[in-house]
Symmetry: C2
Subunit: 321 residues, 2 copies
């Protein structure tokens, strides 16, 4: 299939073309990369969509939530794509995210497109593919893109930097549950959802809600004048799902009415461009064969106290030229 054919198919919302295009993006072949870049440039950029990150530790019920949430969105007339960033998949050999068998109802619908996490590559590589896949899904007419991730390493921060709204799913449980919260995670959270608030756990969920509320109050707000919504739900019993959607909409409304929605996306694009360039440049610096030995010697001299870090840096820069 040519790039033009792919672009046309995607513009018409053809699922097969979209899937093929994402495969192109996920390919590491230089030729495919070239085609993928052309395709992305040929497709329109849409700002009338919503990109929603959904994060949470394994077992929190992400798939169950996305199944219920996605179906609600479709009932309301939306078209929903589900993508995933899973840094654990390269090591475990397979991603559990975006698993269609776990989203039975959703995956059967014409208005939903579910794509599991790319199964190989570094987090940066996976993130790159997901970023570009978002654009493809939007071009194919999916106006809501859910990007799922697990609470591993830096993955939430990657996802937060590519979505309009970042939602964190939590388990009920107060006090101790707050210990060991990942550093910085509260600071990037736009909407917090405490799942499994059913049966015996209802009370625990309410306690957790109150503790998280206090925790948020200790932080400078991400957006002035906007409190982070904290909701207790039961994805399994489909309770509270509509309220989550309402909270997301209120959040979006706050962004839009403060001219932050487009501004955020532009900032994300520029940051991403900058990061791509800087990552590549720094990768070259630290991996060029010609300076590897020198860097290693400089480090030894520095740690033994022979030269200062400043002097070591000066010598390396002289060599790089």
């Amino acid at each position: 299939m040519t790039v033009a054919q792919l672009a046309e198919g995607i513009s018409k919302g053809k699922r097969r073309h979209l899937a093929k295009a994402i495969t192109l993006i996920e390919s590491s072949r230089e030729e495919d990369q070239q085609k993928a870049a052309e395709l992305l440039s040929a497709l329109p950029k849409r700002n009338d969509t919503l990109r929603l990150g959904i994060s949470g530790v394994p077992g929190v019920g992400k798939s169950t939530f996305i199944e219920a949430f996605g179906n609600l969105l479709i009932e309301q007339g939306h078209r929903v794509a589900v993508l995933a960033v899973d840094p654990s998949s390269p090591t475990t050999g397979g991603s559990i995210l975006g698993d269609k068998t776990r989203m039975e109802l959703l995956s059967g619908k014409e208005e939903a497109f579910i794509r599991p996490s790319p199964t190989a590559g570094t987090l940066g590589g996976v993130a790159k593919k997901t970023r570009e896949s978002i654009q493809l899904c939007e071009a194919a007419g999916y106006d809501i893109v859910l990007v799922e991730t697990v609470g591993v390493g830096q993955s939430e921060f990657e996802v937060a930097s590519m979505v309009d709204c970042f939602m964190v799913l939590m388990l009920p449980g107060a006090g101790d549950s707050l210990q060991g919260i990942k550093r910085g995670i509260l600071e990037i959270t736009d909407v917090m959802v405490i799942n499994k608030a059913d049966g015996d756990q209802k009370k625990l969920a309410e306690m957790a809600k109150s503790e998280y509320k206090n925790a948020f109050h200790m932080l400078a707000p991400k957006y002035p004048g906007m409190e982070v919504a904290i909701l207790t739900i039961s994805a399994l019993q489909k309770e509270g799902i509509a309220e989550v959607w309402e909270a997301v909409n209120q959040f979006k409304e706050h962004l839009t009415s403060n001219n932050l929605f487009d501004k955020n996306r532009n900032k994300q694009d520029l940051n991403w461009f900058k990061r791509l360039v800087e990552d590549e440049v720094l990768h070259r610096i630290w991996n060029q064969a010609s300076t590897q030995q020198m860097v290693s010697d400089l480090k030894d001299d520095m740690l033994s106290g022979k030269i200062s870090a400043t002097e070591a840096a000066r010598r390396l820069m002289d060599e790089i030229g």
Copy 2:
């Protein structure tokens, strides 16, 4: 004075030579920079010292605390240097940090060396000078170096990355006082000191202590098995100063007995080397005249949706070669 003369004077603990050497480090003249680099390489690296960062918002009583704390250290036989990182000094035209008139007793002592913040330069530049000045002070026989900073911008994070122990001074006051705590500040804190716990404020200070304690419990500990000590003191009335020193020593003991003291310093050195190189490389990339126009055009094309961030990065890398 030659580099050799400076090095000899510093090794003998001569204050005049130390002051001259720091002036050399603070100079932006290429010739001085060259001499400073030689000097640093000529001086020994000491691991038997303690580098202590002291941070806090203006008005928290840093100078009063350092005056009392420094004198206590000297009474115990230490030699104390006070340096400062103040990112606000370039704009306000003068630093209030390390102000000798505010540390009257301390500044009169032979065993103390106080150097105000460099008065010009970017935060990165000021931090570089301070890092190198630490080494000079240590070589001159000051076994405790206090690095003072205000709670502005990234300055605490800079200071935390160059000291063995990072202390934060806080004002009394509970509840609301926690709001607006700077992002990430708790996560880099090793010892917390609530100052002005005297008179009416004693009770408030105790409440703040209990709230901060809860806040720390919500975070993964910086060092496993080590709780952050929180002390209430009155620097003005010299109450609790010895307890602060005890807490710092306990912290140091924890690091030492876990082989983390030297490990941290080595890590700091390597990180600093890496950062110096990367800052310089990236500065060159974004500031070379030959690509400025191209970068600007690429950004426009990206924001208008003509090309993707990936494509923009690819084109720039092609140009850089």
